[in-house]
């Protein structure tokens, strides 16, 4: 949208004056202030009008694609006034009464032929420009009273708006530089230290070049800026180098939060600034990291290396303009690098380089050498699976019974809160408060708990201790294993060296290592209604023993902010079925195919057992070999049943 800045406007051939007159008619706000600096002097008209077009294009794009029309935005601005916070550093303005200001040097404007000599046009320009502020809060400035006295226009504005109007001193309106001063003439009335004066001067320059509706900051042709020329900014090497960083600091200081700032300024033009590298403007990415549109046209960039400082900055940049730079001839292939540098770039020099679809596809995690696969679940006789079913259900309904069933005097439990864990990537809403109060007291995160006694106290050993800490946990409702299987990622493998309570094996026996990632609702203790969603990771070591045949050796739990379930679905990742996946198929480890829940697999095993009289173990193995396709499993059984050993069958 920004710009074909290399194309000179038709008006250019008619010279500056003609262009200016056209604008006077076209611009509905009588706003000519931007044209002064942009248009430039000394035969730079063609390029300058390009930069000016950039602004108009942005505005047009906004009106087309934006939610609000320009008119309704203005209506909102009018009603949103709330205090003068244009400068955070200078808030000490009186807040009551009206201040009278004198506006001079307007009589010879191009609007002087209007019936009222241009007064009404001037007033609306003053109101609009004074409202056009870089600030977190929008305030509409209203001129309450006005009166022409000879060559002076006396205006009365609320005291807190006086500063904003005074800042228009020297701005260009309808071909003249208007003068605004306090009555009584205390030199603009801004006073303050030299630093404050400089800051106010810069602030004035920024606001004059800012368009609140298109969120556009026009920093083109800074050297031709009347106000800056007045200050001799670019005459002295030392101040020239410091000016841009100072400008960026003032810009940052104008907003209360980074979010406000990023929202207010989405497009920047640095066109026509004779830039040959980024040294002077290197701080732009720090100040506006979320910039969407950037115009660098008509500068002196000749090599990619001169732009490399901004490589991989501006992550959100959607379009950039580099026309009118020597690089077009010097490095004709520069485009491919630029596209690579800015991963969200859609448009380069007005030409589309990426579609929305390209961007959407790329935000998925592409091929990794370890693609996301369906769960690796290694069980024996359904032991691990049975435990998981009981445990998840029991934790929600009867924790006391659960501890009696699975925990003994040598069972350990502890949990950690990961308060910083990444959250659900599909939720882009404002992040809700996490409220870890119920958990933090016993959290054993070793990254936070460094003292040995605290580490000791937060490890719960034996059914009583475990039962007590479970009771202190909020009431929970875990996602249902059968109907909401996609909300889980459950894996298991056979773990050697697990303590043998019978003492028969000194070096330990085989048990299970179980890893469950899933989610639960915290329930309100009074109403039983779901209050908050959490995600969790729970690692169990199971060994033989206990009333059910398995006992918990270790139970380590991490509770974290809700993280969604999309990471568990292999279909969400490119490459899951790609060549890398095919080349590295796991060996000898049973896996459930995507979409097959443990529940369904279990049903299949039972059904196959019923029809073939094979043991559950053989039925499962059979199904695994045919990738859980039931009819094929039956065929496979028919073809091999004569060769199966007797112990493959359930005793009659």
């Amino acid at each position: 949208m920004v710009a074909r800045a290399n194309r000179a406007s038709k008006n250019a051939s008619r010279g500056p004056a003609a262009t200016r007159r056209d604008r006077t008619k076209v611009d509905r706000d009588g706003d000519l202030s931007m044209d002064g600096p942009v248009k430039g002097r000394g035969g730079r008209v063609g390029k300058a009008s390009g930069a000016s077009n950039a602004r108009k294009d942005l505005t047009a794009g906004k009106a087309k694609g934006g939610i609000l029309s320009a008119a309704s935005q203005r209506a909102i601005l009018k009603h949103a006034g709330a205090g003068d916070v244009a400068m955070l550093g200078s808030r000490t303005v009186p807040s009551r009464g009206l201040t009278e200001l004198k506006v001079t040097n307007w009589n010879k404007s191009k609007a002087s032929t209007n019936p009222d000599g241009g007064v009404s046009s001037l007033i609306s320009w003053l109101e609009k420009k004074a409202s056009n502020r870089l600030s977190s809060r929008v305030r509409t400035v209203k001129i309450k009273k006005s009166q022409v006295e000879g060559e002076d226009l006396i205006v009365s504005v609320p005291a807190e708006d006086a500063g904003a109007v005074l800042r228009l001193d020297g701005w260009q309106w309808a071909g003249v530089n208007v003068k605004v001063e306090r009555i009584g003439g205390d030199a603009g009335g801004l006073g303050g230290s030299k630093t404050e004066q400089t800051r106010d001067m810069i602030k004035g320059v920024l606001e004059r070049r800012y368009n609140i509706e298109s969120k556009f900051l026009d920093l083109s042709i800074l050297r031709q800026d009347e106000k800056l020329k007045e200050q001799s900014i670019f005459n002295v090497r030392s101040t020239a180098g410091k000016f841009f960083p100072a400008m960026m600091r003032v810009l940052e200081g104008a907003f209360e939060t980074a979010k406000d700032k990023d929202e207010a300024v989405q497009s920047v033009s640095l066109a026509n600034n004779e830039l040959s590298d980024l040294t002077a403007i290197s701080t732009l990415p720090q100040t506006l990291p979320k910039l969407k549109n950037l115009d660098l046209s008509n500068n002196k960039f000749e090599k990619l290396g001169q732009l490399a400082l901004w490589k991989k900055r501006f992550y959100h940049l959607e379009q950039i303009i580099l026309t009118g730079n020597p690089i077009e001839q010097a490095e004709p292939d520069y485009a491919s690098s630029i596209i690579q540098w800015f991963p969200n770039l859609r448009t380069l020099n007005g030409i589309q380089v990426r579609t929305e679809e390209d961007i959407a596809n790329r935000s998925k995690v592409p091929d990794l050498p370890f693609p996301i696969r369906s769960p690796a679940f290694q069980d024996e006789g359904g032991i691990a699976e049975g435990f998981i079913r009981n445990f998840i259900a029991g934790f929600d309904t009867d924790r006391a019974a659960l501890t009696a069933m699975y925990y003994d005097e040598q069972s350990d439990f502890s949990y950690s809160v990961n308060t910083q864990a990444p959250r659900d990537p599909s939720n882009t809403e404002q992040t809700e408060k996490q409220e870890w109060g119920d958990y933090i007291k016993n959290s054993r995160n070793l990254k936070k708990i460094s003292q040995l006694p605290a580490r000791q106290n937060r490890l719960f050993r034996g059914p009583q201790a475990v039962s007590d800490v479970f009771a202190a946990f909020p009431k929970t409702k875990h996602a249902d294993l059968a109907t909401e299987a996609k909300k889980y990622m459950i894996e298991a493998h056979i773990q050697p060296g697990v303590p043998d309570p019978s003492g028969a094996s000194q070096s330990g026996v085989d048990g299970f290592f179980i890893s469950i990632h899933g989610e639960f609702d915290e329930l309100d203790s009074a109403t039983g209604q779901p209050k908050k969603k959490r995600s969790f990771d729970r690692t169990f070591i199971l060994g033989p023993g206990g009333p059910s045949g398995v006992r918990i050796v270790n139970d380590i739990l991490t509770v974290r902010a809700y993280g969604g379930a999309q990471a568990f679905d292999p279909d969400n990742f490119e490459g899951a079925n790609g060549p890398a996946a095919a080349a590295s198929a796991p060996e000898g480890v049973p896996q459930l195919p995507a979409g097959l829940s443990i529940e369904m697999a279990e049903q299949m095993c039972l059904e196959l057992q019923k029809q073939t009289r094979m043991t559950i173990g053989y039925a499962k193995e059979c199904l695994e070999q045919v990738n859980w396709d039931f009819p094929t499993a039956l065929q496979a059984f028919e073809s091999v049943k004569a060769n199966l050993p007797p112990d493959a069958f359930v005793a009659a």
């Binding site: 350990d412 950690s416 910083q420 864990a421 894996e491 493998h493």
Partner: protein, 170 residues
């Protein structure tokens, strides 16, 4: 006969978990050529199952060298950042305890470690970020006992991975 108190078990296990996690994630990020040394050497158990057991986003490998090579050669730039860490003693006595010194007892156990954190992929700051959960069973490094560099920190690895289960969880 030397014995270990509950405090000893907590001290040994938490110290081991911390130094292991520091070294392991640093190696994943920056010194991948060392990765294989974090695992027990590959063996086949009498049951026919191999060790170590490495389950990485559902890919199961039993060969630490193959795992390390794939990670080193094919994995893009990563920054793993463990945010929470916990550990239990899994088995307090991997071999008979009779006649062992306290120091020997401290290295006669296995540990269950759980880590929760995030990993940044491809590039610093702007690369995609995934939450991960990583669990391990660590055992004492037998090769190191009585061999090179015992007792000197940083010389060889005190604890190595026998089984591991990693998943991206966000």
């Amino acid at each position: 006969m030397a014995t270990l108190t509950e405090t000893d078990y907590t001290r040994v296990s938490t110290d081991a978990a911390e130094s292991f996690a520091d070294a392991f994630y640093t190696a994943l990020n920056g010194s991948r050529n060392q990765l294989a040394s974090f695992y027990v050497p590959a063996i086949t158990q009498p049951s026919g199952r191999g060790l170590p057991h490495i389950s990485y986003n559902g890919d199961v490998l039993n060969d630490p060298v193959a795992f390390a090579t794939r990670f080193e050669k094919e994995m893009p730039w990563t920054h793993f950042e463990p945010q929470s860490l916990d550990v239990h003693v899994l088995n307090r006595a991997l071999t008979p305890v009779e006649g062992k010194s306290k120091k020997e007892l401290e290295r006669n156990m296995s540990l269950t470690v759980q880590v929760s954190g995030y990993v940044r992929l491809y590039e610093r700051k702007d690369g995609p970020m995934k939450g991960f959960s990583d669990s391990f069973v660590l055992v004492p490094n037998k090769e190191e006992v009585g061999a090179k560099g015992t007792g000197k920190s940083g010389q060889g690895r005190q604890w190595v991975i026998q089984t591991q289960n990693l998943r991206f969880v966000t």
